[in-house]
C-alpha cells in the first residue's frame, strides 16, 4: 500500500491528467454536440496544431505567439473543411461525415510526413515554464500547472460564449431544433461553419499545448482521437458538462489504476465506457435520442 504522500501525488496527477483529457475532448464534443457531426479528423488536427506550433516557434521565436496563432491556423483549415467538404454531407446518413473525416485524417497524417519528414519535431516550452514546482507532497512540472490554468480559462470562455452571448444562444437553439431556428430566419449554415472552426481550433490548441510534453510527430493524434471519443461518449454526446466530468473521471481512473495495477491501465478506459453505457443509455449527461 503506497504511503499517503504518494497517494496524494497520484490523485493530484490524475486530476491534471483528467484536465488534459478534457482539453483533448472538448473540441470533438462541441462539434458533435452542436452539429451531430463525428469529426474523426480530430486527432489529425490536434497533430497539426503541434506541427504549426513548431513552425511558428521557429520563425517567431515566441511560444506565446505560436500558442495563439497555431490554433487559428487549424481553425482556418477547419473552416475550409466544413465549407467545402462536410457541408455537402448534411441531410445524408450521419455516418458519412465520420467516414469522410476518417479519409481526410489519412491524408493529413501522411501529408505531414511528406512536408516535414519522417522524423518528428521538438517543441520546447518557454524557459519560465520549463522547471518543476515544489508542491510539498511532490515536485510538479510548472508547465502542467500552466496547462490547467489555460484549460480552465477555455472552459470558462466557452461557458460564457455559449451561455451568455446571442450567438451562443443561436448555437444552442440550433442544436436542439434546427428547423425552428431556420423558420425564425436565421442562417444556420454560417453558425455551423463557426462551430466547426471553433471545435477544430480547440483541437489545434490542444495539440500545441501537448507538444512540449510529447513532441510533435505524425502519429500523435491516432490514440488521442479514440480516447477523446471515449470521453465524450462516457460524458454523453452533446453535453459539454458531461465531457468535463467524464474527462476528470477517466483521468482519476487511469491515474489510480496505474498506481495499483499498471497492466490494466490501458483497458480501464474501455471498461469504464462499457460499464457507463450499459448502466446509463446515453452516457452520464447525454440527451436521449441524439444520434441513436
Amino acid at each position: 500500500m503506497p504511503d499517503l504522500s504518494t497517494l496524494l501525488a497520484q490523485v493530484f496527477t490524475g486530476l491534471v491528467l483528467g484536465m488534459i483529457y478534457v482539453l483533448l475532448a472538448i473540441g470533438l464534443s462541441l462539434i458533435f454536440g452542436l452539429m451531430t457531426v463525428v469529426n474523426f479528423a480530430h486527432g489529425a488536427l490536434f497533430m497539426l496544431g503541434a506541427y504549426f506550433g513548431v513552425f511558428l516557434l521557429t520563425y517567431t521565436k515566441s511560444f506565446w505567439v505560436a500558442l495563439i496563432v497555431a490554433p487559428l491556423m487549424v481553425g482556418a483549415l477547419g473552416l475550409l473543411m466544413e465549407r467545402f467538404l462536410i457541408r455537402r454531407l448534411y441531410g445524408r446518413s450521419p455516418d458519412d461525415p465520420l467516414l469522410l473525416t476518417f479519409g481526410l485524417s489519412l491524408i493529413l497524417v501522411e501529408g505531414v510526413k511528406v512536408i516535414w519528414g519522417k522524423i518528428g519535431l521538438t517543441l520546447d516550452p518557454p524557459r519560465a515554464l520549463a522547471g518543476a514546482v515544489d508542491l510539498g507532497f511532490m515536485a510538479f512540472p510548472a508547465y502542467r500547472l500552466f496547462l490547467v490554468v489555460v484549460i480552465v480559462a477555455v472552459l470558462v470562455g466557452l461557458y460564457l460564449f455559449l451561455g451568455r452571448t446571442n450567438i451562443g444562444l443561436i448555437i444552442r437553439a440550433g442544436s436542439r431544433d434546427p428547423l425552428m431556428v431556420r423558420a425564425l430566419g436565421i442562417d444556420l449554415s454560417r453558425i455551423w461553419l463557426l462551430v466547426f472552426g471553433l471545435g477544430t481550433a480547440l483541437a489545434g490548441l490542444a495539440g500545441i499545448l501537448a507538444g512540449p510534453m510529447r513532441g510533435a510527430y505524425a502519429e500523435m493524434g491516432v490514440t488521442m482521437v479514440i480516447e477523446s471519443f471515449v470521453v465524450i461518449v462516457v460524458g454523453g454526446m452533446g453535453s459539454l458538462l458531461g465531457a468535463v466530468v467524464a474527462g476528470l473521471l477517466i483521468g482519476q481512473v487511469v491515474g489510480l489504476t496505474t498506481l495499483f495495477v499498471p497492466k490494466l491501465a490501458e483497458i480501464m478506459v474501455f471498461v469504464v465506457m462499457a460499464v457507463v453505457l450499459l448502466v446509463r443509455p446515453s452516457g452520464l449527461f447525454g440527451e436521449a435520442g441524439l444520434l441513436e
Binding site: L17, E110, I119, M213, E219, L259
Partner: protein, 405 residues
C-alpha cells in the same frame, strides 16, 4: 458524363492496368533479394535508414561486377509494421517476384510472420532487427539467420555496465509488449547478479504518450538509475516528461538502446547525459577501419552519416552476397551451409561471426551517451562513445536454453 459511366470507365482502365496482361519477363540472370520493411507507420525513419543501407550494399556489389556474375536487385516492400501485411508481401516476393533470398523486418512480430513464409518456401531469411524469439525454438530454422542484436544481449551488456558505473538501485519502466518485457526480465536478472536492488518495475502501454501517472511513484522511490524501455515516439514523450518533473537532476537515466532519429528529434537538451546502448554509431569511423570505410561510402551517397538500422541492412545484404560467393550457388540451403562453415565477417564495424547452432550473429556493441548542448559535433554528432562491449557468446542465451542442442 454521369457518375455511373465515369466510374465504369475508370474501373475498366484501372483493371486493365492491374491485370497481368503482359507477363514480366523474369530475367534469370539477376540475384533478387526481397526486403519487407515498414516504410509507412511510426518507424518510417528507421525503415528509411534500412532502405538506404540495403541500397548502398546493392550498389557496392554491382559496382564490383555483382555476385557470381549476376546483378543484384533488392526489392523493397512496405510491410506497414503489420505481420499480416509483412507475410503477404513476403509471399508475393517469393512467388511473383521470385526472390532467392529475403532480408528484412523492423518489428519483432513482423519478422516472425515473414519467417513463417520463408521457412515454408525454404528461402534463406536474414532478420535485421531485434528479437529474442527469432533465433530460438520454435521460430528458428536452418534457414533463419539473425544479424541484429537481441534484447538478451543488449540488456545483459548495458545492464552490467549500468550496475557497475551508474548505480545499483534501479527503477525500470518498460513498454508492455514482447521487446519491453524481455529486456525487463533480463535487466532484473543482471541487477540481481550484480547485487543491486530493484525498487520497482512498471509496465506502460506501448504508444502511450502520457507518463505522468507513473512518475510520482518513481519520484517517491528515489532510485539511483531509471532504466527505460520506451521505443520510438514514446522515448521523446517519456524523456520530456521526466525532465519536466525535474527527475533528471535526481537520478541517472539509461536505456538499452539509443536510436539516431530520436536523438535528432529530441536534441541535445533532452538527451544530454542519457546513456544507452547501440549496435553502431557513426563516430566509430575514428577507430574502426571497416566503420571508416562504411561511413565514407554512406556519406558520399547520402550526405549524412549512417544509423544503426541501416548498417544492419547493409550487413545483411552483404552476407547474402558473401554466402553465394562461397557456396558458388544461389540455393538457400547451400548458402546457409556456406555461411555456417565460414562464419566470420566484417562489413562495417569489426569482427562478427555466426554461431553454428542458432545462426546468431555475435558482434560488438557500444555504450553511448547524449552530448550536452554546445558540445555536439555538427548536425549528427549528438552522442559520445563511452565504452565498447566486445562480442561475447555468453551475452546471449545458450543454444540449449533456446531449445536447440
Amino acid at each position: 458524363m454521369d457518375r455511373r459511366s465515369f466510374l465504369a470507365t475508370t474501373a475498366a482502365g484501372a483493371a486493365a492496368l492491374s491485370f497481368p496482361a503482359i507477363l514480366r519477363a523474369q530475367s534469370k540472370d539477376v540475384l533478387r533479394i526481397g526486403f519487407p520493411l515498414p516504410l509507412t507507420g511510426p518507424f518510417g525513419a528507421l525503415a528509411a535508414d534500412q532502405q538506404r543501407g540495403a541500397t548502398l550494399a546493392m550498389d557496392e556489389l554491382n559496382a564490383k561486377g555483382g555476385v557470381l556474375g549476376r546483378k543484384v536487385e533488392v526489392l523493397f516492400r512496405d510491410d506497414q509494421l503489420k505481420p499480416a501485411v509483412g507475410a503477404q508481401r513476403t509471399k508475393e516476393l517469393i512467388e511473383n517476384d521470385q526472390v532467392q533470398f529475403v532480408v528484412g523486418g523492423l518489428a519483432a512480430h513482423v519478422q516472425m510472420a515473414i519467417n513463417e513464409q520463408t521457412k515454408k518456401s525454404k528461402v534463406l531469411f536474414i532478420s535485421v532487427s531485434q528479437s529474442d524469439e527469432i533465433s530460438a525454438k520454435p521460430d528458428t530454422s536452418p534457414l533463419t539467420f539473425h544479424e541484429a542484436l537481441n534484447p538478451t544481449i543488449t540488456s545483459r551488456a548495458v545492464g552490467n555496465w549500468i550496475a557497475q558505473n551508474l548505480g545499483k538501485k534501479w527503477w525500470i519502466i518498460y513498454a508492455d509488449y514482447a521487446w519491453g518485457k524481455q529486456n525487463n526480465m533480463v535487466l532484473q536478472e543482471v541487477l540481481a547478479k550484480q547485487g543491486g536492488t530493484l525498487l520497482g518495475s512498471t509496465p506502460y502501454p506501448l504508444g502511450s504518450a502520457e507518463f505522468s501517472a507513473h512518475l510520482p511513484k518513481i519520484q517517491g522511490a528515489k532510485p539511483e538509475v531509471l532504466v527505460s524501455m520506451t521505443p520510438g515516439a514514446d522515448n521523446i514523450a517519456f524523456l520530456k516528461q521526466v525532465q519536466s518533473y525535474g527527475m533528471k537532476k535526481t537520478m541517472r537515466i539509461a536505456q538499452p538502446l539509443h536510436w539516431l532519429p530520436q536523438l535528432k528529434e529530441g536534441g541535445p537538451d533532452l538527451y544530454a547525459d542519457i546513456y544507452g546502448g547501440t549496435s553502431f554509431y557513426w563516430e566509430l569511423e575514428e577507430n574502426v577501419p571497416s566503420a571508416k570505410q562504411y561511413v565514407e561510402i554512406y556519406r558520399k551517397k547520402y550526405n549524412a552519416p549512417p544509423g544503426d538500422y541501416g548498417a544492419y541492412a547493409f550487413s545483411g545484404v552483404m552476407e547474402v552476397a558473401r554466402g553465394c560467393t562461397l557456396a558458388k550457388s544461389f540455393d538457400s540451403e547451400a548458402v546457409a551451409d556456406a555461411l555456417r562453415k565460414n562464419p566470420t565477417y566484417d562489413h562495417y564495424k569489426g569482427k562478427q561471426w555466426w554461431r553454428t547452432c542458432d545462426n546468431k550473429s555475435f558482434q560488438d556493441l557500444w555504450i553511448v551517451k547524449g552530448r550536452e548542448p554546445g558540445k555536439t559535433k555538427g548536425e549528427w554528432g549528438l552522442a559520445e562513445i563511452v565504452t565498447k562491449i566486445p562480442a561475447n557468446e555468453e551475452l546471449d542465451r545458450t543454444c540449449k536454453e533456446k531449445g536447440l542442442a
